[in-house]
Each structure stands twice: as C-alpha cells, then as structure tokens.
Symmetry: C2
Subunit: 470 residues, 2 copies
C-alpha cells in the first residue's frame, strides 16, 4: 500500500531518516501518480506501532485500508505517518483490495482538528436521543463550517435534488430561458424590503423578483419564458421559511384563452419533476430520510384544483371561520392542507380564484365575478410554494387597477408603459427553489436547502475575493 497525503495541517516532527520514505509522504503537487482510491480519511486507528487502519470515504462510499509494517515496503515511520493523518484529509491510496476478515469496529483520534465531526453531523435526532453522550451539531455550527457540513450524506442528497429540480424545469418545459438584470435603477420609495445601493450617484436597488422583466419578455414576443436566478428581499424575517436571498424559479407565458393554461404548465412541470426525483434521486432521498425521517410527498397524477370558495367552505365545515374575501394565514393554510389530505389524499394542490383584494393590483380579475381574480397559489405539505396569476395586459385598465388600490400611478410608469406597444394576454408563476426542495423532503428549515444561506443575521463567509479576481 502506498499512501500519498495531499493535505496536512501540522508540520511533522523531526524524525530519523527513513530508507523507505519514497513509499509514502506528501505528493509533489501537480504530478500525481496513477492511483486506485482518492478519498477522505474519515476515521484513523493505530494498532500498536506496526499497524494502522484508515476508513477512506469517497462521497457515499467507504473503503477500509490497512497498513502493516513489512520489510522492504512498509516502514514503521509510514505506519506512524498514516496513524497521525488528520481526519478529512484527502488521501490517495494504492493497494490491494480484499474482503476484510472482520469489520472495522471503531476508530478514534485524540484531538480531531476538524471543528465538526462528520459522523456527528450525519446523525438523526432519534440516534442522538437514544445515546445521550453523542454530540448534537447545531444549525449555526453547521453553517459556520459549511464546507464540512455539506459532506454529510443527507446534504449531498439535498443539493443533488436541488440540482435536479433545476434540470427538470429545463428538460420538462423546454421553454425559453432568460436572464434578467438584478441591478435596477430606482429609489424604491415604497419598499422597505429592498436592498439599496448607490451606483455613480444614482439610486439603485436589487431586484425583488423578475416580474417586470419577465413580463417585458412576453411583450417582446418570447412566447413562454423561464428564469432561475437570485431574488433579494431585505425583510426582517427570522422564520424557518424565509431567506433574504433565495433562488427564484419563474415562468411567464402568453395565454391563448384562459389562465388555466398557466396552471396546466405548472401542473405538468411539478408532477413530472416529482416523478423524476422519486426515480432518479432514490438514493439521495434515502440518505436524507436516514438523518431527517420523512414520508414521501403525496401527490396526484393530475393536481387537485379547488377554488378559494371551496377551500373556505371546507374550513367552515370544520369549524374554522375566515373572511371570504381575505387572505389565509399560515395556520389556516396548514389546517386546510390537513383537511384536503384527509379528503383527497394529496399534499400537493392548487387553490385558485383568490379574492382580488389580497392579490397585487396587476392581477387579472375574474370576468364573471370581479371580487375574485384569475390567480392561484400552490401548496405542498400545507405550505405555499408557488404563486401565480394572469396579469392585466391593457395599460388603461392597469392604471385603473393601480389607482383603485391607492398606488400613485407616477411611481409605476415604467411598468405600465411596457404594455403600450401591444401586449398579449399572459400570466405566470413564481416559486422558490429552496422551499420546493424543503417541502418535497419534509425538512423543517429552509437553511437546510440553501447552500450558503443568507438571512438578516448571516451574510458570510466574507468576500475576500475582491482583491483576488483579475
């Protein structure tokens, strides 16, 4: 066996010259030899001075390696070198593969240099509760050492699934992908939840959504578009389900006849996406479930569509009284989710035809009942993950709607002007990628599905790179 150590934290002590030194040690950096296994030293154990075990992990898989003193190839110093490896070091191992006579029972190391022990970080609550002496790695420690944390099987699974969700949008829908600007001129009088910056003396802010530009793309005859990109909300939200930067998944499209077409696209996309995740990410879902147990999301072949009024009635029948023209709060949404699961056997459904009063002024109203709107929300496990609607595409009518909502029309001239040169009927929807993944996997905190989450208390790691990028 040869062991090439690519990464070593501490300097080795001065030692006697080893005539077999050529068989191990630090690799001359760029000139790697042919190798059999490269992975991380997950656990290291010495047995006396003549033998050492190393469990080498390469993503989900582990190989047990053993080095034994042997004249002419393995020196005692080599055994010592191996036994003193730091956990999580990357090692190259060339050796003979055999079935172990007995499984490796344990491994220990006096002072692990890594601030998070991966075995601790990968345990489920149930395991931790069963054995009281185990370390619980809290969310903050995980995020402080995210490069270590994201190596756990559950995290590898979560971000593989996140990646697959993005792929699915592209592969299933085959729409026109756009990239809209995030730097937006404007002093943003109205919004406190906006990130403001100054660019050459002009007030500028960060886009809170691609709403304006995706609608402009439709006015530019792009037909059907989607965008996956960052969305910025400077909100003071300290909940388990809000971030101040997240990944927006936005669709906008021409409508031929009715806003049901938008729901059809959403339906087709998400059912196909869930199907594909269940098939292609089976192992990832299992890995997540081992640490964070959850039941697979229950969804129907064709997504259930209830009107807001039907939802209202179900709640009323269950003794929950709400304003028939008001919005649902989080608690009521969860209750409705529960009622719908019991009655229809699905945790994924559409609530459509929302009261006009609780939707943005640019939402198209229902032709036959202007107290309601051509809009919908989509729920997963009782929480809203998607919001969609037909938009008002006629500038004169948009102006009227803004006025009747008490908006100073002068402040939204750019938006209204976008529809002055002929705008087709259109609609769309927006989802948050992190929330979609969180609720598909039944996770309890959106920070678990954001690679480097940003919230009002965390905008790190720091950016050192401003001095580095050429």
């Amino acid at each position: 066996m040869r062991c090439h150590l690519l990464h070593l934290e501490e300097e080795e002590e001065e030692e006697e010259q080893d005539p077999l030194a050529v068989n191990y040690g630090e690799v001359p950096l760029p000139d790697l030899q042919s190798v059999l296994v490269r992975g991380r030293a997950q656990a290291i154990r010495a047995v006396g001075k003549k033998m050492a075990f190393v469990a080498v992990r390469e993503r989900g898989f582990t190989v047990q390696c053993v080095v034994t003193e042997q004249e002419g190839s393995v020196s005692r110093q080599m055994v010592k070198f191996v036994a003193s490896l730091n956990r999580e070091s990357i090692v190259d191992v060339r050796g003979t593969l055999t079935l172990p006579s007995s499984p490796m029972k344990g491994a220990s190391q006096p002072s692990p240099p890594s601030p998070i022990n991966l075995e601790d970080a990968a345990r489920s609550e149930a395991e931790i509760e069963k054995a009281l002496q185990l370390v619980r790695v809290n969310q903050d420690a995980r995020l402080n050492f995210r490069v270590l944390d994201i190596r756990t099987p559950a995290n590898q699974g979560i971000f593989r699934i996140q990646s697959q969700v993005g792929n699915a949008v592209l592969v299933i829908l085959r729409l026109f992908e756009i990239h809209t600007p995030k730097l937006i001129a404007g002093s943003s009088e109205g919004g406190s939840a906006v990130f403001k910056l100054d660019y050459k003396g002009r007030p500028t802010c960060l886009a809170q959504s691609p709403q304006l530009h995706k609608q402009m793309s439709i006015c530019g005859d792009f037909g059907r578009v989607f965008e996956i990109g960052p969305v910025f909300r400077a909100e003071d939200s300290y909940t388990q389900r809000h971030l101040c930067e997240f990944t927006g998944l936005d669709v906008e499209m021409e409508i031929k006849k009715y806003y049901f077409e938008v729901m059809d696209i959403m339906d087709q996309l998400f059912v196909a996406m869930f199907d594909s995740l269940n098939v292609s990410c089976k192992k990832e879902l299992e890995a997540i479930g081992r640490q964070y147990p959850f039941e697979p999301l229950k969804y129907l072949r064709k997504t259930l569509r209830l009107t807001f009024q039907e939802g209202f009635q179900m709640l009323k029948d269950a003794g929950v009284e709400i304003d028939p023209l008001g919005d649902l709060n989080t608690e009521v949404e969860r209750k409705l989710g529960q009622l719908i699961l019991e009655k229809y056997g699905t945790e994924f459904y559409i609530l459509r035809h929302y009261p006009l009063a609780v939707r943005p002024f640019y939402t198209m109203l229902c032709y036959d009942n202007p107290a309601y709107s051509n809009s919908f929300d989509v729920f997963s496990r009782g929480e809203e993950i998607i919001s969609g609607a037909q938009r008002v595409h006629v500038p004169e009518f948009l102006t009227k709607r803004a006025e009747s909502c008490g908006i100073d029309v002068k402040t939204i001239e750019t938006y209204i002007d976008s529809f002055r040169y002929g705008a087709p009927p259109h609609g769309g929807f927006g989802a948050g990628l992190e929330r979609v993944v969180m609720l598909f996997c039944g996770l309890n905190n959106i920070r678990k599905t954001s690679l480097f989450p940003r919230d009002p208390l965390r905008i790190s790691p720091r950016e050192d790179l401003v001095v580095m990028v050429l």
Copy 2:
C-alpha cells in the same frame, strides 16, 4: 373575417351606431373566443372606405388579412376600425385562409404610435446604406424601447441562441448545478470594481464571481459543479465588450491527475454546444445573419491547444515582440487569432501555460517551470471568452503565494480557511454567456446579446415593482 382588437391606444371618435358591431371590436378581456390567428398588426393599409389590408405577424411568420365591406357581415365601420389599428397591436383574426391573387405591396400609416418601427429596426446596414432615406435605429433607441426591439427576427434569434447555450451546459455536461450567494459580507477594501451596499449596518457587497463558493463546493465533495448566474462588476468600462452585470457560466471540478482534465471538459462542452447550435438554431442563425452578416465560427473537432510560449513564438515570427512573461493585450490577442486562423484554420482555440505573474495568486504553478502556471484562456474570433486554471488547494502554499504577490493575508483568511479541512486538487473555468453568444454570432457589441444590458450609463428600466410585489 372577424377582428378582435385586444389593445388600442387611442379612444375612438363618437360614431353612428353600427348594426353589425357584434362582428368586431374590443374583446371582453378574459373571455376570448376561439380564434384562428393571434398576432401583431405589423402593417395596415386602407383601400378606399370599403377595404383594408393587415399583415399579421406571429413571431417569424406573417399572414396577410383582408377585410371587405359585405352586406350582413362586414360594415363600413368595421373596415374603418381595422384601417385605424395601431401598428404592433395584438389582434385575433378569424377568417378564411386563401392564397392572395397578388402580394401585398406596401402599407402605410400616418403617424405610427410605436417609437420604433420594427421594419426599420430589422434592417441590415447594407440595406440602409443602399437606400438613403431609410431610418437607422441606433443602439440607444433600441435599448430605450427594448420590448419593441427584441421583436426583430435577429433579436429573437440571438436570445433563442442564448437560451440554447444555457441548455447545452446542462444537457452536455450533466454536472451538479449550484446556486451561490450574490450578497457577500465584507468591506472590500481592495476592490474598486465592486458594488457596495449596507445591510443592517454591516458592509456588504455583490459577488464579482462565484470563485470562492464554487471552490467551497468542491471542498464540500460535490465533485463537479456548474453555475449560471449574474456576476457584478462596478467597472468604468465603456467598451463594446464589457457590462457591469453579466451572466457568468462557471464550472469547477476535482482534478484526478492534471489540469488538462479541465480543458477536456471545456473542449467537450463548447464543441458539442457549437455543433448543437448550428443544427438546432439554423433558422435563428440565418435571421441574425440577414441583419448582421457573419461567417459561421470556424472550430475544430478537437480544440487546438497551444502553449503561451508557442503563441509568443508565432507572434515573434510575425514581427510582433511581446514580454515572454507578460500578458497579451487586446490588439495582440487579435493578431494572434489571425495568425492561428491562417495556420490552423480555426477561430476557436486554447492558449495554455500562461506566465504565473499575470494570473491571480490562487493559480497553480507549473511543477516543472514555476515561471508558468497551470492555466489557460480560450479565444473566439480573436477575443478571450473563457479563463480557466488549476487552483492552489493547499492552504500553506496558498498563503505563500498570496504573500509573494504582496497581498495582506489577513484580508483573505476566509478564502484560505476554506481549504483547511481537506481540499482535493481542483480547477475550473469561467465564461460570460453574453460574450460567448456575441462571438459565436460575430456581433460587434455585447449589448446586443444582453436582454436588458447594464453598463455605467444604463441601469434602466426603473424598478417600479417595489411597491407592487406582495
């Protein structure tokens, strides 16, 4: 023929009641009738008071419609209504499809309400120069009325191709897609080219590249990752090839043996992408070429790889003397591109093994000649579009490199710390999506390939939406 007008700028004058009014007019908004053609009124012409022609465009295609006074179905008022349509209005037309006895020769309208005439916006320079009375729509007017401008066949082609480039990255590489944060804590002492903002009293800036986070993903054992997302540079660049916000296309990957693996992935990706664009976007490329004539990009099945020294020698042989350990300027790059095209018949090639002194400190040096680095640039039509390298993954060595480049190591602690818990050898590359498309299509200005370009003089349209988004 029925004509449903969905959008009308000016109020109609008061007129006598039309008994056939039911056969035309504005559509009750959400309740559209079954239609045959929906498109834009591109050109309108009245022939006396009894007949009118309308050319209706749906993306690339045009249908000529004719309405003639006819007792019981078409009134004179209807003909007048059609003749007074605004250009670029969206119309629904139900009628009988026939071959025209003679082609529509012209169309006129006294005062087009749309600030850009699409026929003007779609003309090539050659056409404009041939006929001096034609209007030239300049770049600024185009960007001021981008919703109109992007309807030209060339622009429809450009953004379809941009969309396909993104698809290609995903479909060809099948890597792990990540979404890294754009909000980065830090006061960014070193960089003037950074957008700064203040978030709850903490200095924050916008990511200039996903460099740190994509490398952290590799340290987190993600293997091979890519990201397509916005990149922000507050530079004072007023060139044809710089934007202050563009779409970065970034790849980062573990290296098994040598940095050639990174070039292999780049090579495989771009050759397959160019092949796929040439096949699947044939019509789009033709549409672009009609307005902005260009020769197809010349590239080889396996991308040519020259060392910096070979490039140096070619330039020297052609009488161009440069510093053998310095960088190439834009002019020299173009000259080298020309020499390589003549000698090797390709406009797409890799120049590798750059002098270490002209690359960022985190670039891995060549093991056998530390004056050079394991890095490369890729050129398309004589301009750099991709920059890549192996990175230094050993924190102690990274510290030394930073010091020898005169960087205060304290300011880049976060970056160096990311490699302390075991980092595999790795490398990657970054490209700008807009520049890739610009040079593939031989365009002369990067604003042509950015949907809503941002440069030091333009951060508009304004953001009205801060008051609108719920």
